[in-house]
Symmetry: C2
Subunit: 422 residues, 2 copies
Amino acid sequence: MPTHPTASILAIGDELILGQSLDTNTQTIANALTNAGVIIHEHATVPDDLTQLTDAIIRLTKTADLLITTGGLGPTKDDLTRQALAKALNQPLIEDPKALKQIRTWFTSRNRDMPKANRVQALRPNDAHMLTNDHGTAPGLAARLYNCNIFALPGPPAEMQPMFNREILPTLQNPDAPPVTTRILYTAGLGESYIAGKLAELMHRDHPVLIGTTASLGLVAIRIRTTLDKDAAQNQIDQAEVKIRKCLAPAVFSDKHTLPAYLIDRLTERNETLGTCESCTAGLVAKLITDPPGSSAAFNGSLITYTNELKQKLAAVPANIIQNHGAVSPQCAQAMAEGARLQLETTHALAITGIAGPTGDTPTKPVGTVYIARASNNAPTDTRHFLFKGSRDIIRHWAATTALTLLRLHLDKVTMPLPCQQ
Amino acid sequence: MPTHPTASILAIGDELILGQSLDTNTQTIANALTNAGVIIHEHATVPDDLTQLTDAIIRLTKTADLLITTGGLGPTKDDLTRQALAKALNQPLIEDPKALKQIRTWFTSRNRDMPKANRVQALRPNDAHMLTNDHGTAPGLAARLYNCNIFALPGPPAEMQPMFNREILPTLQNPDAPPVTTRILYTAGLGESYIAGKLAELMHRDHPVLIGTTASLGLVAIRIRTTLDKDAAQNQIDQAEVKIRKCLAPAVFSDKHTLPAYLIDRLTERNETLGTCESCTAGLVAKLITDPPGSSAAFNGSLITYTNELKQKLAAVPANIIQNHGAVSPQCAQAMAEGARLQLETTHALAITGIAGPTGDTPTKPVGTVYIARASNNAPTDTRHFLFKGSRDIIRHWAATTALTLLRLHLDKVTMPLPCQQ
């Protein structure tokens, strides 16, 4: 019986080894490989050191069918992936004329001359071939060592991801290996540990379908995956979906779209529009809802009212509400949502006011206190009180995704309390 | 001469290997070890597999003074760190009565009986000792193999972090080892490859200080790092800083702050304020400028004018500008900045209008066309035309950081063209 290919992932860079940057590439790649049915053997990270990098390449190619490296392809002296790969392959580095031309074009199309330093990016080990980078100057490299296919990808996620999708994903389709069938259910409004508890039995490794979760601040995607044959796969996945929906209803909202794309889709089909009025999140909700292309069909705009004066001036929050209840209050959140909806001339408006910290708290309003309101043309305003825990960044992200979740509850006529709701 | 201790970090778990969860423990630990002067050799991640885990422990203990593992200490069948450590040490697992008592107490203090499954958490290899876990049921383990001190910590960050701080950090204080001295210079307005070219000679690895760059869409941080002794270190780092500033002037703006924090700081000390008027970035500039705590001292708010109607209504853009030049035009960007500045009552306003794509382009305005304007109370408005390349997300981020850079140029009286400027 054909078996699944194995892979290892190697991240390269002092900034990762030193803990200055968080490596997200490895997770992205691991996730995509897993979904394609690849068994992942190991992840490793090494510094910008030629010996260590070469040793790691040699070691990892001996135990896997596929080695994917990220980083070390820039134009500087600490970018050593080209040299390490040449050393591992025991081959000289040669200049690739086509790659050099592409790098030059990258600069000339931006009205710049190619700096001398970038010329090294056109080097490749003799038997390797280059992978075009449409989003930066660093071409990738593909080579073979000890029956292992090596792909060296650039470190910036925006360059790595399209190259991975174009060059590596298609090579993983092995017609003899059992296909991998996956489905994703998107949820909003449940914590990851709550979901893990509810799905504990289904998530057992002996189960015929593998169920995993990916959580991002109140938004949890549940992946169902199986390597069973086609009909059996559909059947098992359908069964798992029914069970998951039963456990987690009504938090599952889509099997296609992330929350912003789902909301834009729903609003567009209803011919409705959205605006926001944001204090502590300062535009984060507006940024998230405009991430999907085509969001202009349903999103009008926002009022970012960081100061009390602008809450009054732009969103018409009555001065006495701020005087009597403070800017961080349910009354203010409600007035912001209702005022912004009129001002922005939208069907719905979401408003957020809170204390993202680390300072600005009071004895009765600790850091993480956030009021979120959803106002609509045809329904009473829904205002809720939250106490989010974590850093300033985490509190702001929780608040933003929770505001979007409030709109989803309204559009889908769903009633439920949300995480951290007081 | 005393040398720096070396360490490797091993993360354990199928959820990491499969890409279901993002490992943040390794970065946390790497950062703390680096700050304590430890040289980090490698990061690795292995699945919940006894052979692979045992092999990784043996391999990593051979090349470092310290091995820190995270994960695999829970009560389930997948949790194999105890067994792997016993196998690596070639010792039997024994039950630790004190640890068992602590685990029982953890449950009884929460009015629960200890589930049978948790009893395995009191097992340890014969010569290892247990590390108390004040925040969960999984005790840590400490052992020694091949001159390497091994610490096995639990996976949940809230349990890992206090145990690391209490048990490991104090053991790293070696008064004889030379400290690691670092400095970071922040730049705005230069591409990473341009910087790499300029610094090529300084970045040579034989240099007494190590220089590295981390780039994020027009913002490049330059790290200077040395393990020389104190006075020599200061001297070498000062020299490197002078050289770097000479190469990259006037793009270096701070050795303390990222761009948003720097701008807030500068504005606050000048007693000035900022607002934004954003179309295609839809709040991203406002979100970035409020990332630093205390940004309310200088940031008032924003107008997110996604529709043409709101550009006119909120930012007072004259209708004929939109009719004659379109919403994506230098005239509109200028009017947005000047109108928003008056409306938001700020010293400065930044405005962005453009085509983030993937649709919405015209023959004369391709995807990536962005106009950015900076208006101020005491200076002519600076409006520039950019053509950013990349995905919707990348175009929006470039536009946002470029807008912030425009303000920095004004505050510091710096004149320079910016990347992708037309």
